[in-house]
C-alpha cells in the first residue's frame, strides 16, 4: 500500500463521501491509504493545503478557486477532480426577523418573495447574516438572489463570518438577524426554536455545487494514479451515501465523536432529504436540497466553476477573464473521465454546458434513465461561458 494521503475535512454532513470512503472500506478496496484530519476552521484547511501539510481536502468550491487565483497567504493551485455534493445550505431567519418578514407579507419558502421582503426591510438597515466563510457558495447564492432582483447585495446584506458551531449562538445573542449554513446545523438550530427556514440553497440555484474535493496541483502532478483512485473511491462512497437505505448507517458513522460529534437524528433526516422548517416539527422533503449522488453531480463542469468565479471576481478584485480561465483550468474533467471510464460512470460529451438550461433531468448517451440536471436558477437566467 502506498504512503497515506493526508486529507482534511471540516465536521459537516457534506464531508460524508470522504468519511465513508474510509469507514466503509472503499479506500481500502482500491488499495488507498487515507489519513483523515479534522479541521476546526476553513482558514486552517486553506493554510495547511497551501503549505502541503494536507495533500487534499473537503473544501468550499469558491475557496478553492480563490486559492488558485492567488487569494491566500501562500497561494497554491488547487485542482478539483470531483464535486462532493450539490447544495445543502439553508437560509434561516431568527425569530425577530421572521416576524418582520411576515409583517411585510413575505412568504417563507418562496425565493423571489423572500428576496423582495428582505429588500423592503433593508430600508432600516442591512440584514446581518452569519456565514461560515466569505469565499463560499453561501455568500455567492445570497448575492445572486439580491442582484437579480435589481438591488445591490452590499446594501441588503452585512455578512458576518461565524463558525457553524457558534452560528446559532450568534443568532440568539442578537449579533446577527439570519444565517446561511450547511447541514446539519440549520436543522439543529430550527429544532431548538432559534429560527425559521426561509429558503434552501437549491431554490436559488438547483445546479449549485457545494463542497469539492480539492487537491494540490503539485501533488496531483506527482501522483496521477492515486488521484484517479481517489476519484473512484469518492464516486463510490458518494453514491453509497445517496442511497436512502444507507442513511441510518451513514449518519451513525458521521455522528461519531471523531467526525461530526453530533446527534444522529438531524444528520439522518437531512440525508433523507427531510428539512425542518419550524420547531413545531413541520418538515419538507426536498431531494434536491442536499445531493450526494455522484453519478449525477460529481462531474466538475468547467462552466459551473466559471460562473461562480465570475460572480465573485468583482468582490475578489480579479478580472473576469482571469476568473474564468483559472476556474476552467482548476476543474480536472480529464482526471474525472479517465478515473471513471472503467466503472461505466455516465460521462457528458462536453466539459461545459449552458448553466441554468436544464429544466429537468436529461439523458446522457448509453443510459436509459435521465442523469444530469436540473440546474435552473430561480430567475431563469442562463450562462454560456463559451
Amino acid at each position: 500500500m502506498s504512503k497515506a494521503i493526508n486529507i482534511g475535512f471540516v465536521p459537516l454532513t457534506d464531508a460524508a463521501p470522504l468519511i465513508l470512503a474510509v469507514e466503509m472500506g472503499f479506500a481500502e478496496e482500491e488499495g488507498l491509504s487515507i489519513n483523515l484530519v479534522r479541521e476546526h476552521n476553513w482558514s486552517s484547511v486553506r493554510d495547511k493545503l497551501s503549505f502541503g501539510v494536507l495533500d487534499g481536502a473537503h473544501i468550499l468550491l469558491p475557496m478553492a478557486l480563490a486559492m488558485s487565483l492567488g487569494l491566500a497567504p501562500a497561494p497554491n493551485k488547487i485542482d478539483i477532480p470531483i464535486i462532493l455534493n450539490m447544495n445543502g445550505n439553508s437560509f434561516v431567519a431568527g425569530n425577530k426577523l421572521t416576524k418582520k418578514i411576515k409583517a411585510v407579507g413575505g412568504v417563507f419558502g418562496k425565493t423571489k418573495d423572500i428576496g423582495e421582503a428582505l429588500i423592503t426591510l433593508t430600508q432600516e438597515s442591512p440584514i446581518r447574516v452569519a456565514v461560515p466563510f466569505l469565499q463560499s457558495m453561501h455568500v455567492t447564492m445570497l448575492r445572486h438572489l439580491i442582484s437579480q432582483l435589481g438591488h445591490t447585495p452590499e446594501t441588503v446584506f452585512d455578512f458576518h463570518v461565524c463558525a457553524p458551531s457558534s452560528i446559532e449562538m450568534a443568532l440568539n445573542t442578537g449579533n446577527v438577524d439570519a444565517f446561511m449554513v450547511g447541514a446539519p446545523w440549520a436543522t439543529n438550530a430550527i429544532d431548538n426554536g432559534s429560527g425559521h427556514l426561509m429558503l434552501t440553497s437549491n431554490s436559488i440555484w438547483q445546479g449549485a455545487p457545494e463542497k469539492a474535493f480539492g487537491i494540490r496541483r503539485q501533488w496531483l502532478d506527482e501522483h496521477r494514479n492515486e488521484a484517479e483512485q481517489m476519484v473512484r473511491v469518492l464516486y463510490r462512497a458518494a453514491n453509497w451515501v445517496s442511497n436512502p437505505s444507507n442513511a441510518s448507517v451513514a449518519s451513525e458513522i458521521l455522528s461519531n465523536p471523531k467526525y461530526l460529534d453530533l446527534d444522529t437524528n438531524h444528520i439522518e433526516s437531512n440525508l433523507r432529504g427531510d428539512i425542518l422548517v419550524k420547531s413545531n416539527g413541520m418538515t419538507i422533503n426536498e431531494p434536491l436540497a442536499l445531493q450526494f449522488d455522484a453519478k449525477r453531480i460529481g462531474f466538475p463542469w468547467k462552466s459551473t466553476a466559471a460562473w461562480i468565479a465570475e460572480q465573485n471576481a468583482p468582490y475578489w478584485g480579479v478580472s473576469i477573464e482571469d476568473a474564468r480561465t483559472i476556474a476552467r483550468e482548476a476543474c480536472r474533467t480529464d482526471i474525472y473521465r479517465s478515473a471513471l471510464e472503467s466503472v461505466k460512470a455516465p460521462l457528458p460529451s462536453a466539459n461545459e454546458k449552458v448553466e441554468g438550461s436544464l429544466k429537468a433531468r436529461t439523458s446522457v448517451s448509453g443510459f436509459h434513465e435521465p442523469i444530469f440536471g436540473p440546474d435552473a436558477f430561480f430567475d431563469g437566467i442562463t450562462f454560456d461561458v463559451a
Binding site: 479541521e39 476552521n41 482558514s43 503549505f51 502541503g52 463558525a163
Partner: protein
C-alpha cells in the same frame, strides 16, 4: 534603538499564552498582550494597534478573526496577513505547531523571526506538557482499576494480594492484553453480575 513591537496573543488558553509571554522576555524590544476573550475583538484590536498577532490555528473562531483582520486592513490599520514567500519552512513549521501569525505589512524579517521561533517552541512544549499530563492521568486511572480488581479477586477467591496480581498478569499474558484492560473487563463483568 529599535521601536518596541507590540505582539498580541489571542488564546483562550491562559497557560499556553503565558508560556509565549515568558519565552519572549529574554528578548528586548517586545511588548506582549494576551487576549483571552474573542468577544468584541474588532474594537480591542483597533485600540491595541498590534504589530504582530498570534492565534491558535485550530481555534474555531479563526474564520471570524480573519474577517476582522481584513476589515482592519481595509481601514488602513497596519495589520496584514503574514505573506513571506522567502521563508516557507518557517511558516510550515508554525502551521505544523498549530500557530497562525499575522504581521504588519513591510515589517523587517529579523524582527519577526524570534517571535515566531519562540511561539513555535512554546506551542510544542505546551503540547508535550499536555501529553504528559494526559498520560499520567490515564496511568493513575489504570492503577485504580488494577487495585480494585485485585481487591475483588482477593475477596472472591480468597487470595493474597500477590496471588491476585499474578492471576491478573497471567490472564493478560495469555490473552495478549494489558493488565489494566483485564482489570477493567473484570470490573465491568462484576458490575453486570453482582
Amino acid at each position: 534603538m529599535t521601536e518596541t513591537l507590540h505582539i498580541v496573543v489571542i488564546d483562550p488558553n491562559k497557560d499556553r499564552a503565558f508560556l509565549i509571554v515568558d519565552g519572549l522576555q529574554e528578548y528586548s524590544g517586545y511588548k506582549v498582550t494576551v487576549v483571552g476573550e474573542t468577544h468584541g475583538l474588532a474594537r480591542k484590536l483597533l485600540s491595541l494597534k498590534p504589530d504582530i498577532i498570534l492565534i491558535d490555528l485550530e481555534d474555531p473562531s479563526r474564520d471570524s478573526f480573519e474577517q476582522i483582520v481584513s476589515a482592519l486592513n481595509a481601514a488602513k490599520q497596519p495589520v496584514a496577513m503574514f505573506v513571506d514567500h522567502s521563508d516557507q519552512s518557517m511558516m510550515r513549521a508554525a502551521i505544523e505547531a498549530g500557530i497562525s501569525a499575522y504581521v504588519v505589512d513591510g515589517m523587517r524579517k529579523d524582527r519577526i523571526k524570534p517571535v515566531l521561533e519562540t511561539a513555535i517552541a512554546r506551542f510544542h512544549s505546551f503540547q508535550r506538557v499536555k501529553k504528559e499530563l494526559e498520560t499520567t492521568k490515564a496511568a493513575l486511572a489504570e492503577r485504580k482499576h488494577v487495585d480494585r480488581a485485585k481487591g475483588m479477586l482477593m475477596k472472591a477467591r480468597n487470595l493474597t494480594e500477590e496471588e491476585a496480581y499474578s492471576l491478573l498478569r497471567k490472564t493478560a499474558m495469555d490473552q495478549g492484553r494489558r493488565v489494566s484492560e483485564v482489570a477493567e473487563g473484570l470490573l465491568t463483568a462484576a458490575k453486570l453480575l453482582l
